[in-house]
Symmetry: D2
Subunit: 160 residues, 4 copies
């Protein structure tokens, strides 16, 4: 693949500051040509998608409910799971790397699941959990991800 | 949204004839600007994706296993569920419409799930189950889908 | 284990005749000392549980919704999945054998899933699908299950 | 229902001390007539089940893999999900209350999921997360659970 899938995790709400960070994170992901995957709902999730779309990126929402109508308006590809919080496991497993922005208990569960799966997890003002690589900015998080997961080693090769 | 998500369901294997139909179906979906979602594996799934990519389409694979490395090489966006056959429910719920090509028991389960969810289900040489709209060709299936689900009524609107 | 887990699949509604068959099936399962697992809701599911409880059996409901309050009143052990139809895969995988009573599309999906997983599937007035072993009565279905799955070969051994 | 379903969460491994606590917790749950639900695997999960069975309790294992053969030998009722870590959401949603014993990242994810769902979560030497009610002993945890969830208010009523 020519790009990574980067999971953005964060709450359905989120402070103004968290939302600003989320917007910048989404924009940075898309600017570098990666795809953004998230839970598809509002708050931090929506702002990261809005950031990605502001530079023409691609956004995927793994939705908890039964209809794609639940997705925030910046989701390109709504995946409709109808499996409530169990979908958290799908979000982080789909990501090549995971970035947490702030967050409450849902985000905590996703951090736990991602670390269980040995996914690299980066944190921007999020829970203090051993194993999270804390970063000062979206740019720093993306720099670290690209160092750790160079595209030249991305095992799946697509003819696309 | 400017396009529909069309779920293609069919077996991991499939006869030469089924695979040819699947290729044509994927090509027809993509030619009309829609996205193709499937189980992401081989056989009918792979051929439909190959068809879609032959005209520059977008393909999404809802994978049963734990790694995106399982996806067929024509999948653009691998969704890694690690939930085995339970992911069948996610494939059909994500599709605005479902097209079955041939198929064995997995396909039968997806037909049952889709009809449970009141999704329109079209069949190309597949199981004879009441509720499936049988069509003679991929083109006829897509014509019927577009008549039933005009984009002007596609409720989600995306700024993208 | 000293008993089998037998999955009963059938619709949330069901005719009077189907419900009578379901009651007898549940009673027969429990009378022979086996556990009954089902989707936990009404109709055929509820009647099979009522039959099992009429002779002191044990019933397990794999529920689609978010609360155990959805379970029918004859469920001893409600498993709360909150994953809608995706839970159909859990019902049939949990059963050592599957018995279908009548049924509509949900039941069809469970038949497909069970046959995918190579589970033995027995049918009482249900869908005509190759691979289903059709039986004339609950007793005949249980006789066939016990011949196929003798407890002496039930691999898990529990100290209980 | 005449009893609660109490979810025990903890690692597949666990120190000798953690396992001793888990054994005592399982025994205390069963002694008071409640059912124990857990992930069904080894370590803390197995010891809690062993404790419950030592006094004739009932144990339910929500398994991540594809076969009931994965269950620890003290599981009475193996629920076979084949959905890997996504089953963590089912464990905590099935519990009326959740007790964490020690634990690593999987346990952390279950704590996050349970708090998301507004389940009461009790901790015995586990992660320090706001919202967990920390207790000094299994007995203290059970006392707190029974104060919070008196059986007289347990909404589901079963004829059993």
């Amino acid at each position: 693949m020519k790009q990574l899938l980067i999971a953005v995790i964060g709450t359905n709400e989120g402070s103004a500051r968290m939302k600003k960070t989320a917007f910048e994170l989404g924009r940075e992901i898309a600017r570098r040509g990666h795809y953004l995957v998230c839970g598809g709902m509002g708050g931090v999730m929506q702002e990261s998608c809005r950031g990605a779309k502001s530079v023409g990126g691609t956004t995927i929402g793994i939705l908890p409910g039964k209809t794609k109508g639940d997705a925030n308006p910046y989701i390109d590809i709504p995946i409709v799971t109808a499996m409530s919080h169990a979908r958290n496991a799908v979000i982080v497993r789909t990501g090549d790397a995971v970035v947490a922005v702030g967050g409450r208990y849902g985000t905590l569960s996703e951090i736990g699941l991602a670390l269980c799966m040995n996914k690299p997890v980066y944190g921007l003002n999020t829970w203090k959990i051993p194993g999270i690589k804390r970063k000062a900015s979206p740019r720093a998080a993306l720099d670290a991800i690209e160092r750790r997961l160079p595209l030249s080693q991305n095992l799946r090769t697509s003819p696309a």
